[in-house]
């Protein structure tokens, strides 16, 4: 198995990954309007005077779309292909959409679910898979 593709952790994203390490899906919220914000950033687009604050969300959503990549791919994904990548619209705000994978169980591989069974609109909930000390990737199982 090749090394996983680990995202860098920076000031914008550190609270997201800290939440993930604690089994919590955290999203930014505009301190003035209350609207959720993703991807994380230093300023709220919904109010020029508001800084975003981090908030835990339910970790529940619905599949908005999905793809099934086939080679050519980077080595660490080529060995899993075909696998699924999904986009999940969060229950709290369906315009907040997270890229992830549908797995059969927490810690399960991303090529385990039969792609023919994946349906747009299916309810999902988040699970976390530790892929390094710093990065626990959110993935999704059917709710």
């Amino acid at each position: 198995m090749s090394e996983p593709l680990l995202p860098p952790v920076d000031a914008d994203s550190a609270p997201f990954w800290e939440g993930a390490r604690n089994g919590e899906l955290r999203i930014q919220r505009c301190a003035v309007t209350g609207r959720l914000i993703f991807p994380p950033r230093p300023m709220s687009p919904w109010d020029p005077h508001a800084e975003p604050v981090w908030t835990a969300v339910s970790g529940r959503g619905a599949i908005w779309s999905f793809v099934v990549p086939h080679p050519p791919l980077l080595p660490q994904f080529a060995e899993l292909a075909p696998y699924n990548v999904i986009v999940v619209a969060l229950d709290e705000d369906p315009t907040i959409r997270l890229v992830g994978n549908l797995v059969a169980r927490a810690g399960g591989p991303i090529d385990e679910v039969d792609p023919a069974t994946i349906e747009i609109g299916a309810a999902v909930r988040v699970v976390f898979e530790p892929v390094s000390d710093a990065i626990h990737l959110p993935r999704w199982v059917l709710a």
Binding site: L6, F66, V67, T95, N101, L137
Partner: protein, 379 residues
């Protein structure tokens, strides 16, 4: 800037999966060919525009072609979003008096060179850190995600995508310069092709090409004395919508209302030519689903009707809107869409290998899915 400047010269190298010459040499050859086509001396060039992804900068071009003093130069970002903007920015510069002879170009060895998505520099751009760790790696994966949603919301099918691939391939089958000149594509071929990223297959993807293209702009007044009939830059737009992201545009209100919508509002606001007046279009086609999305964004049909628009040969010669009449990125060459610009000029001149009768205007667009741009050229 309406009709204030015109494209008076076009030039290009051969297109191939592999060309031996370096990108710089290809760039200069295409530019010199365009200047020769226009009948304009390289020493008169005083304006340049290209892509931020272009490897050969203005200094290198100017010193190789023997340009004089250059007073305008600009680069436009976002890869396939840049093409028409290079022409539009030169047209604005000429209209504003910042330069008199402008050259736009793109040279790329995407055929024999590296795949950008596999490179370390692409690994974790700001949005990529929210997509790549889960295996959404390539532009085709990113657009396939929008495509699946589009099919779900509007009932589009693979047959609609095949309509696009076959229409554009048929154009290339009449163009000896096209990489796919001798390769027919049937619906059976399309349906049997291998997957790249479901729901997109091999024939939903553009080609991997080495090649370079360029065009020359001057003022409308000067254009009347040039060697070739002018293609006037009638209208120009750019578009970066509210909360839009490049390619992975999943974090805005409606990802299926992409940059084309923002760009086209600006384009038509200043244009006397409206969608129903446009007889032919060159629509950026790195992937087939960008065509229905662009047909909607640029006003040829209502939202959600782009797939149905492709039925009944609408995109072919004799149809409602023939597109990509040299074979586009899918079947002529993929050079970040610059071949669409030169083909738009050929339609206005009447020299296309697939001439559209009475083509007095042509829409040329950049990539839907990235901060984008578009032009309306007219006779």
């Amino acid at each position: 800037m309406k009709d204030a400047a015109a494209i008076v010269g076009i030039g290009e190298t051969a297109f191939a999966r592999k060309l031996d010459a370096p990108e710089k040499t290809l760039a200069v050859r295409a530019i010199l060919a365009a200047l020769d086509d226009a009948g304009v001396s390289p020493s008169e060039v005083d304006g340049f525009a290209s892509y931020t992804m272009e490897a050969t900068d203005e200094v290198e071009v100017a010193k190789n072609i023997g340009a004089g003093d250059v007073t305008f130069f600009s680069q436009v970002g976002y890869g396939g979003g840049a093409g028409p903007a290079t022409v539009g920015q030169l047209a604005m510069a000429i209209a504003a008096g910042q330069c008199r002879v402008g050259v736009a170009w793109r040279s790329r060895k995407r055929g024999s060179g590296a795949r950008p998505w596999a490179g370390a520099s692409q690994a974790f751009s700001a949005p990529a850190r929210w997509t790549r760790p889960w295996g959404l790696l390539r532009p085709v994966d990113e657009i396939a995600m929008l495509t699946r949603r589009y099919m779900h919301e509007y009932g589009a099918t693979r047959d609609h995508l095949a309509n696009v691939a076959i229409a554009v391939r048929t154009m290339a089958n009449h163009n000896p310069r096209a990489l796919m000149y001798e390769r027919r594509l049937t619906r059976e071929d399309y349906m049997a092709a291998r997957w790249i990223s479901e729901p997109l297959c091999l024939f939903d993807n553009c080609l991997e090409t080495d090649g370079a293209l360029a065009c020359v702009l001057v003022s409308a007044e000067r254009a009347r004395d040039c060697r070739q009939p002018p293609a006037y830059v009638h209208a120009f737009g750019q578009g970066l919508p509210r909360q839009s992201h490049t390619m992975v545009n999943y974090w805005c209100e409606d990802p299926l209302t992409g940059p084309a919508w923002t760009c086209s509002r600006q384009l038509y606001r200043r244009s006397d030519i409206k969608p129903h007046d446009i007889p032919v279009a060159q629509l950026y086609d790195a992937f087939t689903p960008l065509i229905p999305l662009s047909l909607e964004g640029y006003g040829f049909c209502a939202k959600g009707e782009g797939a149905a628009f492709t039925e009944g040969g609408a995109l072919e010669i004799g149809g409602r809107l023939p597109i990509n009449t040299s074979g586009g990125g899918l079947s002529e060459a993929y050079v970040h869409g610059f071949n669409l610009i030169n083909e738009g000029v050929r339609q206005i001149r009447g020299t296309s290998v697939n001439p559209v009768r009475d083509a007095d205007a042509c829409l040329v667009t950049a990539g839907e899915g990235v901060p984008t741009s578009a032009l309306i050229l007219r006779k």
